[in-house]
Symmetry: C2
Subunit: 247 residues, 2 copies
Amino acid sequence: MKDAGPIDHQNCGECPIRHRAVCARCETDELAQLERIKYYRSFEAGQTVVWSGDRMDFVASVVSGIATLTQTLEDGRRQMVGLLLPSDFVGRPGREIAAYDVTATTDLVMCCFRKKPFEEMMLRTPHISQRLLEMTLDELDAAREWMLLLGRKTAREKIASLLAIVARRDATLKLRGVAGPLEFELPLTREAMADYLGLTLETVSRQISALRRDSVISLEGKRRVSVPDFGRLLEEAGDDSDGGYLN
Amino acid sequence: MKDAGPIDHQNCGECPIRHRAVCARCETDELAQLERIKYYRSFEAGQTVVWSGDRMDFVASVVSGIATLTQTLEDGRRQMVGLLLPSDFVGRPGREIAAYDVTATTDLVMCCFRKKPFEEMMLRTPHISQRLLEMTLDELDAAREWMLLLGRKTAREKIASLLAIVARRDATLKLRGVAGPLEFELPLTREAMADYLGLTLETVSRQISALRRDSVISLEGKRRVSVPDFGRLLEEAGDDSDGGYLN
DNA sequence: CGTGCCATTGATAGGTCTCAAATACTGTGG
DNA sequence: CCACAGTATTTGAGACCTATCAATGGCACG
């Protein structure tokens, strides 16, 4: 397990997350300032980015790959509390110590900003704090949606909800509607799904098998899922019929 | 159930939440601007402030009392996703439609700002967006703490956690440490506790009885709780020994 | 062709929910 | 001040869902 280390400097103008990340609203001169305090780091799937309780002297954007935030109880019970996709922000300005474990679940590239300069820049660059506020409010909404799932949904509904979210995001990326059959890759292991959903991995496995038996989904290999009828999946998820248009 | 209606105009300088609310960092002239777009509303315990899906043309600070944010599944299952105490902020700048039900669980006074002018003021008043960002990040941390509770804690641990949080907040308000015996009022019904914790009210009742049997707490009436040994309560909550110093 | 990780499946135990009834409390009107 | 109605809370019995413990299967990689 080695840190893949810093990679070559890259121009913000060509950055794939340029229009969605914390820098989305920045002007050219503001980007130039950011470029002076940024550096890239890469991680391999499975590596830990930071441990909860460790000092963290940067904040960062996910450029590519998937990372997770998890919390752990003394006896080892774990709960994922955030799923970080490209353009999502990691770290809290004003906080020295990481509050969560951050782990790369796939190969991961992050655009890191040295914290001190970033904080100073925030004070004089409303474009950054405005965008960060917007992103944080979105995350809060997502967290609250997740609280409903954790507190009130059955195991079957939890699985269906997770599949619906991944399917929807995948359809968005591919610029296709959610009508008609969908097919996508599940970027999480059964264990990670369990940590996300507040279940055991055995229950996750059983419910996926059940959804397959009932023809709500079908699998090719362990990770590739296809959904013949997205409306059916949403019903199984137990949400309102609109299925969370707020995201 | 009547809306107690607007109350007399009040000076921001004398406001009890002046130093903790969204206006905390505002200068005198900024307060003057806020005063022009604010109005007070009072609600009686049990009243609904807004329904999820309704148009919401204001944002607000809780001045006194307690309100809750809840989400509901089609079949009626409910999950509380936020507990709003004095100084907490309600509503999302940039959003027209309320995403959650907001309910007064005690008599409640809110300081409301007309949304449009508030949004415009945010654009030219960094003190407001900075403070709002900070508050939103705090809420996100609290939501994630709650996700751990909902996903991984037992019923007994959930109850103990809730009691610990209320006890800690009460001790803070009274400017006393958490050493020695604590006594406080529970501002929630069993049903509201159940909605908060992702349990049924019967399970809440049983676990409170169990904690009493085991001398972790004692009750006077239904709502007044005393905790002889706070450390013991924290152990029951299953948290790290520090018990969430981050809040 | 092992080795190790990930996933599936089975049997059983245990925790929480559901349904039901009794009890305590609050506020109201006589 | 008391009786009553309505709400909140407690307690019980049983069912159901998910966790736990255990074994097996499948796939990638050396």
